[in-house]
Symmetry: C2
Subunit: 250 residues, 2 copies
């Protein structure tokens, strides 16, 4: 029985899930996808993602892989899987990859985007996909503050205290902030990887800078202190999107 | 007891409601707003909107008015009402208006927008706010077809057969179609008023033109026949937004 490895790109609305990863007592994206897969291949099949996303966090381009002996042309996989999936999970692409490919270990770059709704009144149409900040923000100051967060550095101050990972050094390549339409501000983070809650803590801290509660220069001090308690709050999950995962040959 | 008349602009996600207007056995936008009002003014208070919207239809700028003896500075009304409303209904503006103002009878122009998601695969983030058309559309042909729908005409063919209104003449000022971002197509309809389901039937018919099922010239014939059965299907409600209502002095 010859196994072939399939790489898939998936988008999901995380609002109804306890996160990407399988867990007890709460529905996960992984469980839904594995159930859909089993409906097609008829045997339990594990999937391996580029990384987990937290409860309530969305994805435009999460990547996972799985092995199967079932022969289906690659362009048929998205349609077959989507027919089994609920409408808040959509498989966008499937490709055959060499059996050495691994969605997690081969990822060389990730892009996350965070959406803010910055008007006094809330917006009904983005209420599940943005963080509502009702006071005014100085985007210029926020952009200045991002400079301290670029580069290969120890991000202990921007990592959930309960994280178990030892190596807290990550390389952030770029942080971009722009107002896409009036009131809608997107923060884009590109790096070789991100620690647990890292993007959301960076967003929470940048909001403190933008609202004048924390001085721009303070961000560098927070980073150097390697102490989670000094950074801002963890921004809520509904504004966060895993936007893209990059591999050597993609 | 001096009554003052308040005009409000409201946005709502219609997905969880049986429509704007009060009805038995199903929750309506009107009921939610009247309940919120009663929570503030402590007496049952009727609201009068520019018109009803159907089950599942959204609004960016629906307008209604009500009378009250309660004295609140106009800029406080949105905050007070929003505090009582669920998060899928947001009051955007409130202004004091003369007691002759009527949200329905004084409206001189309405704008509706309809959103299409035109890609083979569905999009999780617009699934509740757009109609997914998985086949390709010729937008040029659709634009040509809109020419027959502009002007002051009898729109019987584009009105739900069960509508009771006698006068089916309406003036459509403008229909615009543009691709806002890849795959996301917006159709904008501006006119002095629209019949029951009229925008959704125009959209259903334009989709038939865009997909090549109906010739451009056929739209003129459908209009002249004054027969609902000849026009296209009623497009689903989730793509439709009451965008704006215009008054003489606004």
């Amino acid at each position: 029985m010859q196994l072939s490895r399939i790489k898939c790109k998936v988008s999901y609305d995380g609002g109804n899930y306890g996160g990407f990863q399988l867990q007890d007592n709460v529905m996960s994206i992984q469980q839904r996808i594995e159930e859909a897969l089993q409906g097609i291949v008829k045997v339990p099949t594990r999937i391996y993602a580029s990384g987990r996303t937290d409860a309530g966090v969305h994805a435009r381009g999460q990547v996972f892989h799985f092995d199967t002996s079932l022969r289906i042309p690659e362009e048929r996989w998205p349609l077959a899987l989507n027919a089994q999936l609920p409408d808040d999970i959509v498989i966008l692409e499937a490709t055959h990859v060499p059996s050495q490919f691994h969605a997690r270990f081969d990822a060389i770059e990730k892009t996350y985007r965070y959406c803010l709704w910055n008007r006094r009144l809330p917006d009904v149409f983005t209420r599940k996909y943005a963080w509502h900040i009702p006071y005014s923000l100085d985007i210029g100051l926020m952009r200045e503050a991002t400079r301290s967060l670029i580069g290969e550095q120890d991000f202990t101050s921007f990592c959930a205290a309960r994280a178990v990972v030892k190596n807290k050094i990550r390389h952030v390549y770029e942080i971009e902030i722009h107002e896409e339409s009036p009131g809608q501000i997107w923060l884009t983070f590109r790096g070789n990887g991100f620690l647990y809650n890292m993007v959301r803590i960076m967003v929470g801290t940048l909001i403190q800078v933008g609202s004048g509660k924390v001085a721009v220069e303070r961000v560098q001090e927070i980073l150097e202190a390697k102490d989670r308690r000094l950074a801002g709050m963890t921004a809520p999950p509904e504004g966060l999107f895993l936007w893209n995962v990059k591999y050597e040959h993609s």
